[in-house]
Symmetry: C2
């Protein structure tokens, strides 16, 4: 990754933090504890991969700043709510997230449940407000995000994940699960960023879709590799959890080396999909590298 | 209540059931169990008070049928998801709802969590699709619903409710809790129905707001009276739960007779707020009666 990219990434992450802080209710607003917990769950943590995808795709189509910051905050809020619920005892029962106690450990289970619920509502509120863009394209963005977050997207992937504990999935089934569980929101991030700038042609939509599919799958393959090889301190969450939970992973299915090779191949695929856009897509290009080369 | 009203109510409830069945993903769509559980949580049950409010307010402004059916399904889906999460062991831990086992009892806790999450996403999907109305007013409707469902609306009310177990609230505090917990979504139902027909003048908005505030509070007062006096079979949920959980209620605060008198007074207030609209508001007028006179 280039120095220019690293600079852009730091700037964008900082900007995203500022937007999130602005788009979340204040801690002094009643009910204070719920708002404090929503901010705890969302702010000051994470690599902000989804917002980075929003901003990188938005830059490609000169998207206006306010709408872009809303789209970026929206996908990150959906992500944050899903982590809060996913960490609860009835799901993955995890105590550590982004290096901090999970919400139900820091507060309690009922608060964690409400934090997730309220963050999802806040997401659609943030995306329905603001000054940029015409209302018709804004509605299209909300349709896309609601679909990606719901039962044929992220929630659906989590349901399949739950049902597949201890089950011998083949690679196709494993890919389908991840296409929903993490892929749908990553794809939405890319498309929402682009749609913040303009209505996409079928050709642009398809190219971005191919890019998103490749990095979405790569993201999960790398996640599985890191879960099997890194320690909890580096990850900021409990390592080795998937194996301990007897969950199918790319590493358990293909082995470590083949998984790494697959991630590299997917990165090439992502780069190839961007050919359509030429040099201007350099941020999305380097983001694919980041996703495959990340260490946590 | 008049025979005409009863006829309208039965027709509207049946129509709402048909819309909900159409706006929820099919049980044969992957992941099948999640979709079956979403339908279990939403269909075939409940008095559909919120959709009735949507339709009654919509009729006042000649709202188009498709948008009205979407608004009605949306508020009912938000209500259904909140019940699923509210019944979970970390919240109210209830086994019976609408005369059937609650979702976490019928399925499991993780499924109940995902059902609620996916229903909320589906709500915003349903409201962002369709043919009627201009996009700008549709966005305004989504803003209203997201606010009513979120941390300064329904979720916020639940957080205050959680924090007030065993606490001696005064009447003002109790009213504020209910204004958020149940009042916000009832208010949104009235306004969304009306907004489906036209952009409201400040005067119309204020009149509907006063009506909604009165019936919202009346709804809760009656709920407390029924919880203290009716049996579980009649209610379709566990009776006497609030007292057993040491939760503050209007009955515990004011006594049974004063609570009944308050409900009657609020019904008068609701009727008075409708004066603005004349005879045409007969459905909303009789709905206020229904809310105060219901036995379950």
């Amino acid at each position: 990754m280039s120095e220019d990219f690293r600079h852009w990434m730091r700037q964008t992450q900082a900007g995203c933090e500022t937007s999130l802080a602005r788009f979340l209710p204040d801690e002094n607003t009643v009910p204070q504890q719920l708002h404090a917990a929503m901010r705890y769950a969302t702010l000051d943590g994470g690599k902000r991969v989804r917002p980075l995808l929003v901003y990188a795709a938005g830059q490609l189509f000169d998207a206006p700043a306010d709408l872009l910051s809303r789209a970026a905050a929206a996908v990150e809020m959906i992500h944050a709510y899903s982590l809060v619920h996913d960490d609860m005892p009835c799901m993955d029962d995890d105590a550590l997230r982004r290096g901090k106690p999970t919400v139900h450990v820091k507060y309690d289970e009922a608060t964690a449940l409400l934090v997730g619920d309220a963050l999802q509502a806040q997401t659609f509120l943030v995306l329905s407000e603001g000054v940029d863009g015409d209302a018709t394209s804004r509605l299209a963005m909300m349709r896309l995000l609601a679909t990606a977050a719901g039962s044929v997207g992220m929630c659906g992937g989590q349901a399949i994940d739950l049902a597949s504990v201890g089950v011998a999935l083949n690679r196709e089934q494993l890919e389908q699960m991840h296409r929903l569980k993490t892929g749908a929101l990553l794809r939405a991030s890319v498309l929402l960023g682009a749609m913040s700038g303009k209505a996409l042609s079928p050709q642009e939509n398809q190219a971005l879709d191919q890019y998103a599919a490749a990095i979405g799958l790569a993201f999960q393959v790398v996640d599985d590799v890191l879960d099997a090889t890194a320690d909890s301190a580096t990850l900021g969450k409990t390592a080795g959890k998937d194996a301990a939970d007897n969950k199918p992973t790319f590493v358990s299915l293909m082995g470590l080396e083949a998984s790494r090779a697959l991630a590299t191949q997917l990165c090439h695929d992502a780069h190839a999909a961007l050919a359509e856009f030429g040099e201007k897509a350099w941020l999305l290009h380097e983001l694919a590298d980041l996703i495959v080369q990340r260490q946590a």
